[in-house]
């Protein structure tokens, strides 16, 4: 159904798009940023074949999509800009200001503005994606990285890797209202879909702090044990929680595993073996599959969410970093 809708929508736009149309232009596609060869792999999620490898700015890392799935935003870290691609034609539409060394960002649920972590400058830059205006620069801790936003858009959370805090920003004022000390090198902040939990992964600390946004207090620190893997190789990074709140997935870096966690009990239930130095995670829009980027084996693993099994791995560019899937 979706495919037909998209197809007719594109047809309605006239022949312009058709001229540019790629063979896979209507399928669900995954976009994967490849940090070390400055490209973005576009993966057809039906066939799991690479449709195209798009050249991007230097050192692409953070990647996300507009709420309607039409635009792909990429942090080109070494070019100090955010690039915006048309998800269908794969063409660069425009670039946005980003502040220096943008690493990760999060889009407001309304689709605007974009909150960007400036890793070298201890700032979060807020940019209007419509007109590229600078809305605010919010001073945060050292090496800001993880960026999460509450489902209602009221709170933006940034983690600073060297300060070891999650900074909670009121998006109405762009001011910090709370600083939560977590374990070393916090990488990712992710809200549950109901907004009742905030998960923050700590790469060097080896834990995930689950925070109650009602009080901004840590409810539990989840830690990990894998037989045969040294504790200090277990480095939590990417976090994704299913919309129905039934399962959470945490990428464990050089442990080469993705942990499956029950968000109700906050207990780890399973470890899935994926590629090397697993970094970020992204669901397909129907949440039937989860994709993990494996930075050191230059591939992504496709995880069947219901079966909790890795079904396939697909070769990408060098050092795949982030992933987003659009319908």
């Amino acid at each position: 159904m979706k495919r037909h809708l998209l197809l007719s929508a594109s047809l309605a736009l006239g022949g312009l798009l058709m001229a540019d149309a790629l063979p896979a232009f209507a399928q669900s596609r995954a976009f994967i940023s490849n940090e070390r060869d400055h490209t973005m792999t576009v993966l057809d999620m039906d066939t799991l074949k690479v449709i195209e490898t798009v050249k991007t700015g230097r050192r692409p890392r953070g990647i996300t999509a507009s709420p309607d799935g039409k635009l792909i935003y990429v942090c080109a870290s070494d070019d100090n800009r955010v690039e915006v691609y048309d998800a269908k034609t794969l063409k660069l539409v425009k670039t946005l200001r980003s502040g220096p060394d943008p690493e990760l960002f999060v889009l407001h649920p309304s689709g605007n503005p974009l909150y960007i972590a400036n890793e070298d400058d201890n700032m979060v830059t807020v940019v209007n994606v419509e007109n590229n205006d600078l809305i605010a620069e919010i001073p945060v801790g050292v090496e800001p990285e993880g960026m999460g936003i509450s489902p209602d858009g009221k709170y933006m959370v940034n983690t600073s890797e060297t300060t070891n805090m999650a900074h909670v920003v009121d998006t109405a004022t762009n001011e910090i209202i709370e600083n939560i000390l977590v374990d070393s090198r916090p990488r990712i902040a992710e809200f549950s879909a109901d907004g009742k939990q905030l998960w923050v992964s700590s790469e060097v600390g080896g834990t995930v702090s689950v925070i109650d946004p009602a009080t901004w207090k840590i409810i539990k620190k989840i830690s990990f044990k894998i037989p045969g893997v040294a504790d200090d190789a277990i480095q939590p990074v990417g976090v994704r929680i299913t919309k129905d709140g039934s399962k959470a997935f945490v990428a464990l870096g050089p442990a080469n595993r993705v942990a499956v966690i029950n968000p109700k009990t906050l207990e780890v239930e399973k470890y899935l073996l994926v590629g090397q130095r697993v970094w970020q995670l992204g669901f397909t829009p129907d949440q039937k599959f989860l994709i993990s980027t494996n930075g050191n084996s230059n591939d992504v693993s496709i995880i069947d969410v219901a079966a909790e099994k890795v079904t396939k791995s697909v070769t990408t560019g060098r050092a795949p970093w982030g992933v987003v899937v659009v319908p």
Binding site: P109, S110, A136, E137, V142, E161, T162, T163, M165, E175
Partner: protein
């Protein structure tokens, strides 16, 4: 003082940017979506500090070598620049908890006495002292300040005895010991099956200590010293290296020439001048170091880039060690929220204290000798080859404790 002024200037710039009028009030969110937030921000209010951490730094300029290669000319602010970056980082983190950090730096000439300088810094209220002074001076300072309310942090001296028989309860060690460095190298050479070593030792006492650490590492990890020589071609053999080094290195077969030349008198003229085509490691060639400008993994490039922005040069091991020293206090301060030295000291030794130092795994202090356990880089001039501990060197509590003197071997008893 300079670093504080600079940090303040940076803060002003940030606030000024934040105060720029945002001309983006007219963005309209799509219907049905969560409303976009107001598109303006106010500058953050200045927070009055509640706790001040006063950190003093003393660097005694070491004896200069007879000659210095142009690429290795030490910068005037060697080390100090790292401490300044540490303060800047601490200020960025600490302001969220109303913590303040101040740095006082003192440089002592080669033939000067750092003890009165240390005493003065303590009288001025500095409760944390970073020391880059020779081992003998460090012991004098530690003993003279034994009953004072001050924590000493050794950022420069690599002498193993400071962690062993001459350990002091009021001293923490950030600088890796010689045995940590040579163990890191030995693990790599053994992993590569380059087990037969030719050891070339310089003329200084420090070189003899480095050589002793190499011998110990060979015994520990199964390396074999098949030949050993003392460098006796004078302090500056650059002009005659091509004829002298081939003769001086005819010792039969070996896998690796290990150099003990801490001053840098001859190690750099050995490569490509040896009789056999063998690589060189130790104080020159492939070097075990705490840090190097070519280190970029695990977020290291961010620290390198912050350092370059502040100092307009590359970050050297002593810069890194001074940054680590200041950062170690800063990291503890976020938990203690108090500059009380007893509390900071307890936090540095707490089981959950971990210091993320951009090397993949966290550093922490050994309780038996106050040495910071951390991975060691093996690097040549233009590349970081690997980090030790190497895979497969196992340990019952931390693989990092395969480097240097482990708990069962220590002769340290704090008094």
């Amino acid at each position: 003082m300079r670093s504080r002024a600079r940090a303040a200037a940076t803060a002003l710039v940030v606030f000024a940017c934040a105060a720029l009028p945002a001309a983006a009030q007219n963005a309209t969110p799509p219907a049905g979506a969560p409303a976009a937030p107001p598109l303006a921000a106010k500058p953050a209010a200045a927070i009055a500090p509640e706790q001040t951490f006063r950190i003093g730094v003393i660097r005694q300029i070491p004896e200069p070598p007879p000659w210095i290669a142009p690429l290795q000319m030490p910068p005037d602010n060697l080390g100090i620049a790292g401490a300044e970056l540490g303060i800047k980082d601490n200020l960025t983190s600490g302001r969220f908890l109303k913590l303040d950090y101040k740095l006082a730096t003192e440089t002592v000439p080669t033939d000067g006495d750092p003890l009165p300088v240390a005493q003065k810094l303590v009288e001025d209220g500095n409760r944390f002292l970073l020391l880059d002074v020779p081992a003998e001076q460090l012991l004098r300072i530690a003993d003279a300040l034994k009953d004072k309310d001050v924590l000493l942090i050794n950022v420069g001296a690599t002498d193993d005895r400071l962690r062993m028989a001459d350990c002091r309860a009021n001293v923490f060690h950030i600088a890796p010991s010689r045995s940590m460095l040579t163990d890191a190298l030995a693990q790599f050479l053994v992993t590569k099956q380059w087990r037969n070593w030719f050891l070339m030792v310089g003329r200084t006492d420090a070189d003899k200590l480095y050589a002793e650490a190499v011998r110990r590492s060979a015994r520990k990890f199964g390396g074999k010293i098949v030949a050993e020589k003392t460098w006796d071609y004078g302090p500056d053999a650059r002009a005659t290296a091509q004829s002298e080094v081939p003769r001086g290195t005819q010792v039969g077969e070996y896998d690796m020439l290990i150099v003990a030349d801490e001053l840098g008198e001859f190690g750099d003229i050995l490569p490509y001048n040896t009789w056999l085509s063998r690589p060189i490691a130790g104080t020159q060639g492939l070097m075990p170091l705490s840090w190097h400008p070519t280190m970029e993994n695990w977020g290291a490039s961010q620290l390198q880039s912050r350092f370059f922005k502040l100092s307009n040069r590359l970050m050297q091991p002593l810069d890194f060690q001074m940054w680590e020293g200041v950062f170690a206090i800063g990291s503890a301060s976020l938990k203690t929220r108090s500059s009380d030295t007893a509390k900071v000291r307890a936090q540095l030794l707490a089981p959950d204290y971990d210091l993320p130092v951009f090397k993949g795994v966290a550093a922490s202090f050994r309780d038996w000798d106050h040495q910071l356990r951390q991975p060691i880089l093996l690097t040549h001039a233009t590349n970081t080859v690997t980090l030790s501990p190497q895979a497969g060197f196992l340990h019952q509590s931390s693989p990092l404790d395969t480097l240097g003197f482990d708990r069962p071997e220590t002769t340290c008893t704090f008094k």
